[in-house]
Symmetry: C2
Subunit: 552 residues, 2 copies
């Protein structure tokens, strides 16, 4: 890893340019430079360039033409017009890959084992108009470098320019896992919305979509051999993700350097399975739901039943097989003991096997995780599986810390690798008010709203030893969708989720005041590309870096 220290120093020099996340080494000058009308990206240094890299080059070239993002200054660039007109022109960016091995596709590298992904690159843009050069040891690294290159330019009167040549950038992520979680079960999101979100994720170098695809409320995933779950459990016949949809999403993601880590949450959060298989669900829609589940409807897989265990293992194996990722989450959060205490079938199973509930949960988990292992997948679980239950997990299991960032230390002490996903920093849905009915003045359980500033200021290694710190693979924002739909998807996610993208790429310690002007640029560039971000400030502030700071 590169040292964290360079960031704030460099930001002081370049407060307004739109590169995000900020590269680990980012040296810029003050010479105007513009793109030639015949500017092109050359792949002569990449033997047999894979199709997804060619596509990425085409997209980058298109964005350079169509972004037309004006500088966020009061005159939007007018006073630089003369300097821009007389600037030297850049004719090309040349990509080259420094590997002796066969050049692989972005898509192949994106789904590589998380610890093995190579995303670094170097980007050099001279001020004299001689060719720019992007080098990497991987196709994925070239893709990250292309993304950076596409963020360096503004538009004035049809000219694509920078005022800060030369650029000398050496970059690589601080953490290998930078994710975004989307829940498509509380409310459904069409494939097109997911694809737009994948594009936006790639623009800030997020490399994992954690797809919480099903839950108690609906089962939109069409799983081969288990089609009855979606045909009876999806919100409608069209509110589903078919294997073809999944393939489309997974390929779209991978071509953009994004791995899709899917989740079938078990044994809780499974009420809807009873629509097709009532025999597998305890306390189905039991009332009052609050005694049986954290949110309605109640219903959990009968974890002590050998039949249910077999069913679940086969389901998870089939579902996981739809995704090329090495990672698959079996969930494991919010297990309700009362649901099983009141379920005669579970009590009978426990008694006949002479097992406690915890022992049964262990057996159940060995089975589902064993099924994943059979197909070469590594299990991911929510924190309760290590902190609240007596379950034996494989050493390589990844733990998602969600209840509180205060629990990170306890997970690290157990020796597991972990992903930051804490509700007190990264939940995009907090602060929108309680959604449960007949709750007169109720606010969110996780009030207040989690600002981008709060996420940005998170310390991923707080209270951890150096050895424990090495267990932190990264982190992510999360959108639980009880109160979200395609209607508010863009503004509820963006640009907030960019804050964790920078935190886990550039490393912690960034200054929110210095980050804000760049985050405005992220936001405005997203808008130019069709992603409808929320306004961070009045436009008056966005055009005047620092003028709306607390002490300005």
């Amino acid at each position: 890893m590169l040292p964290f220290i360079a960031i704030s120093v460099l930001l002081a020099i370049t407060p307004a340019y739109a590169v995000w996340p900020i590269p680990r080494q980012y040296n810029v000058g003050s010479t105007p430079l513009r793109l030639s009308s015949s500017f092109s990206i050359k792949l002569s240094g990449v033997h047999n360039a894979p199709k997804d890299l060619l596509d990425a080059v085409a997209r980058t070239t298109a964005y350079l033409r169509t972004d037309k993002l004006q500088a966020l200054v009061p005159d939007r660039g007018a006073s630089s017009a003369k300097a821009i007109r007389s600037a030297k022109t850049l004719n090309s960016l040349s990509l080259s890959i420094s590997t002796n091995a066969k050049v692989r596709s972005i898509s192949d590298e994106a789904i590589e084992n998380i610890e093995s992904r190579v995303e670094g690159y170097t980007l050099t843009i001279p001020a004299d108009g001689s060719g720019a050069i992007l080098k990497a040891n991987s196709t994925l690294g070239l893709f990250r470098g292309l993304t950076t290159f596409g963020q360096l330019w503004y538009d004035w009167d049809g000219t694509t320019y920078s005022l800060e040549a030369p650029f000398d950038i050496v970059d690589a992520p601080a953490y290998p896992y930078r994710g975004l979680m989307l829940d498509t079960a509380r409310n459904y999101f069409p494939v097109s919305d997911i694809k737009r979100t994948l594009d936006a994720m790639s623009w800030v170098k997020i490399n994992t979509l954690h797809w919480h695809v099903v839950d108690s409320q609906s089962f939109p995933l069409v799983v081969p051999g288990f089609q009855e779950l979606s045909s009876k459990g999806a919100y409608s016949a069209s509110s589903v993700y078919t294997p073809a949809d999944v393939k489309e999403i997974v390929q779209y993601a991978a071509a953009r350097g994004i791995d899709v880590m899917a989740e079938i949450d078990t044994p809780g959060h499974t009420s809807i399975i009873a629509k097709a298989h009532p025999e597998h669900i305890a306390c189905f829609e039991a009332s009052p739901w609050a005694q049986f589940a954290n949110e309605p409807p109640a219903g959990q897989l009968r974890l002590a039943s050998p039949d249910t265990t077999k069913f679940t293992s086969a389901l998870i194996k089939s579902a996981a097989s739809l995704f090329p990722s090495k990672l698959f989450s079996t969930g494991g959060d919010e297990l309700n003991a009362n649901c099983y205490a009141k379920d005669a079938a579970t009590q009978k199973d426990l008694a006949s096997q002479g097992k406690t509930l915890e022992q049964a949960l262990d057996t159940f988990t060995q089975a589902t995780h064993g099924a994943l292992k059979e197909i070469g997948k590594r299990a991911v679980v929510w924190e309760e599986m290590v902190l609240e239950h007596q379950v034996k997990l494989a050493n390589d299991t990844l733990i998602l810390v969600w209840i509180s960032s205060d629990h990170v230390q306890a997970v690290a002490e157990k020796g597991f690798k972990l992903i930051h996903a804490a509700s007190d920093f990264f939940y995009l849905d907090c602060g929108g008010g309680g959604w449960v009915g007949q709750n007169v003045l109720g606010n969110s359980w996780c009030d207040p709203f989690k600002t981008w500033q709060k996420a940005y200021s998170f310390n991923p290694v707080a209270n951890l030893t150096a050895e424990q710190s090495a267990l932190v693979l990264g982190g992510q924002h999360l959108l639980w969708t009880e109160q979200s739909s395609p209607h508010n998807m863009d503004p509820v996610i963006w640009p907030r989720a960019a804050s964790s993208a920078e935190l886990f790429w550039s490393g912690p310690g960034g200054d929110v005041g210095k980050a804000l002007p760049r985050l405005h640029d992220v936001s405005f560039r997203f808008n130019q590309r069709g992603v409808k971000t929320i306004a961070l400030q009045p436009l008056w502030c966005a055009l005047r870096a620092g003028a709306c700071d607390l002490d300005a």
Copy 2:
């Protein structure tokens, strides 16, 4: 006014039907009824029906065809298919007006003095398929009745039906003022977004757009004789509202029963005026801004200057003349005394006139309100003008209570009519995090998020005597747009703002649990009409009235 008491009793009978706000008397049956394919709305009872009523009839007819809103039940209406098919058909709705006077247009009646508007109607829909009848004493009342009629129907397989005929509805608003405030200065909203919002407002019988059109950050309003304010103070040449735009908005609103009450906030919140007239602004962009204003940039009109007073009066007179409304707000909130204390010109003016700042504010206000009176307008001000300053206001001045609902009583004790607009109940922007820069973990000044439930549970006459209660004209939700833009406009406003619309039409005392299923219907119908509301709950809950209640 009709008694409040009927509401909750009737809601118990009709929990799921989409009528919103709930009529004051709402008797329904349980007989299926469907609209004939040749269904029409007849105007034979309205002599010389005005064009805007004909247009409203056309829109209602179109919505009946295009809404295609399915019932919010798990099977979306499938199990009612047989009953729907064999239902009697309704061929017509006949409108009639019971007035001896000349029939006026909706638009004329919508801008009537607020206390004189007549919005009541009766609507009778027999179960036997004989014609439905809508009667009112005003064209505006007929329009409100048409709106109700358009909410009674669901779609199944192309058939527009109800399961609750006959309907016997007697309706009129509890309060004459039901508003929505939109700030178009912190961020700009194109005319098309305002028009879509006006449509949505009319669907829930909101009758006033309080248009906070300019502020310190930008001056988008093109005011005849003062064009330099917008040419130098708008965010861009296209981010303006020309007199033609204003006319389009005002006419669009009026045809939908909505009065546009514009605001030029004075003497604070006027920094941007200095771009064209630096001579009129004290403490222009003074730093640190927090000592001179509640948000950046600082700058206030030089209220002690006779020239500035003359300028402001003429500006307000010209701006107000663009709007047919009887009401115009001169603002008056958040006046910063330090700004004037540090302004040499103001100190000189005060000294030469031998006035205190409060005396100068009084003179200034007499001038601006006098200018409004000359053109037949009634002044509206924020609460500080009566609670914090020694300003003599005309008895008919309307007071907007915004700082806290706890201040309502004090305003009423002064004997002024008032509008509820309190930040602790009705601010749509609260709870989105602090937007001021370099504010690391800062949350909204008015945290937490104000839920629809909170607004809905508001008591408009808390702590007021009967006499004081008569001073309450109604209330509104408000959207300050530091963190809003067209991107999140729909989900941040809707369906939340419908909660105050029902509160001030149907009267207080509604039950949030019983209201929720109807509010879902509002939300889904809005979606069908192109307004992108936020999801209130997972769809699973929306399809099962009450199933996600706290105690379900």
